[in-house]
């Protein structure tokens, strides 16, 4: 019981951390990572619900299946978001993104 609760609470805290970062930080990569942290949190809680105390029947496989599905969805969305972020970065001249790319350019040109 305690274990379940521990996992659930950790998941919730991860969710909250991700949410905070997603809203507060403006960097695209951070946002994407934040979303990933959030989804990890959700999966953690979901997995924790599958747990049943010993001797009270089987472990519930449905949350497992749901988490597997969720992970795949999360992977595909993350990939798409990363590619999209790259394209945004290439084609837009946002100040923030410039700041990121300029030093790299300098580094490359010196080497």
């Amino acid at each position: 019981m305690i274990t379940t609760l521990l996992y659930s609470m950790t998941g919730l805290i991860l969710f909250g951390m991700g949410l905070f970062t997603l809203i507060v930080h403006s960097h695209p990569l951070r946002k994407i990572l934040a979303v990933n942290v959030m989804s990890t949190g959700v999966f953690l809680i979901l997995i924790a619900t599958a747990y049943t105390p010993l001797g009270q029947g089987e472990v519930d496989p449905v949350p497992h299946a749901m988490v597997l599905t969720g992970i795949v969805v999360s992977v595909s969305v993350t990939a798409l978001a990363l590619i999209l972020a790259c394209r945004v970065q290439e084609t837009s001249n946002l100040d923030l993104l410039k700041k990121k790319t300029v030093p790299e350019t300098a580094k490359e040109s010196t080497t």
Partner: protein, 244 residues
């Protein structure tokens, strides 16, 4: 990851307020979560009861590919959609040109890739009774693909688009095809005929694992294959696939 602007700054008013809000929200949700009695029956019993009829021994695989196979079918489509979306956005910056591959890397890849394919096949195979299945296998296949991609083999550039697309679509299309065949034979979409469930699930898993592997590798490549033009374009200054 490069440092970003927010790293060393103190939080401003809005951010503090928001932090407070998030903390409150999480506390509230935590309280609610801890008060929920663990009495809900769940679906474990139902799965256990119907396990024999599912054709596989692993309960997770039974749920994924039999009881709730419709979910899985749509989910394979989600993966494919990510590829279509990324292909619609841009051409793949990989492989770069004129990079020397170190012999060590080359050797490792040559050694590892076949082994990974083998492991993937094993994972798919054992999915019917233990943990494992199409996604796990596909993930290993995808990793092999990524290894090959970062090794900048020149032949990657010459992979024609059509077989690649066939590979991508194979899993979902096969899944839908089986589903429709089941509809034809048993009158139920995805209702496998008596006794064939195990084999059909294995077939679907194999096709899906292949597709998922190719899908993941394509997603890593970050765009559609650029082999329509014979003349190879000069590489972009900051290939996005690498900068992140």
């Amino acid at each position: 990851m490069p440092k970003t602007r927010n790293r060393h700054k103190r939080l401003d008013g809005f951010q503090r307020l928001f932090l407070l809000l998030v903390v409150c929200l999480i506390t509230l949700l935590g309280c609610i979560l801890s008060t929920i009695p663990n009495s809900a029956p769940g679906l474990a019993d139902a799965v256990a009861r119907l396990q024999e009829r599912s054709g596989v021994k692993s309960p997770v695989t039974a749920v994924l590919l039999n009881f709730r196979a419709y979910d899985t079918m749509l989910e394979v489509v989600v993966l494919l959609l990510a590829v279509i979306g990324s292909w619609s956005l841009t051409k793949s910056p990989l492989p770069e040109q004129d990079t020397d591959i170190s012999p060590v890397q080359m050797g490792v890849v040559r050694l590892l890739a076949p082994v990974m394919c083998l492991v993937a096949a094993y994972l798919v195979w054992q999915g019917s009774h233990l943990a494992g299945g199409a996604f796990q296998g596909g993930a290993i296949l995808g990793a092999a693909g990524v290894l090959i991609l970062v090794s900048d083999f020149p032949w990657i550039r010459t992979i024609p688009a059509l077989p690649l697309r066939i590979g991508l679509v194979l899993g979902p299309l096969f899944f839908v095809g089986i589903a429709l065949c089941c509809l034809f034979f048993t009158g139920k979409l995805l209702g496998y005929p008596e006794g064939t469930a195990g084999w059909l699930i294995l077939l679907i898993e194999a096709a899906c694992a292949l597709s998922i592997g190719i899908t993941l590798a394509s997603l890593f490549a970050g765009g559609r294959p650029d082999n329509t033009m014979k003349k190879i374009q000069p590489p972009a200054k900051h290939p996005p696939g690498k900068s992140l």
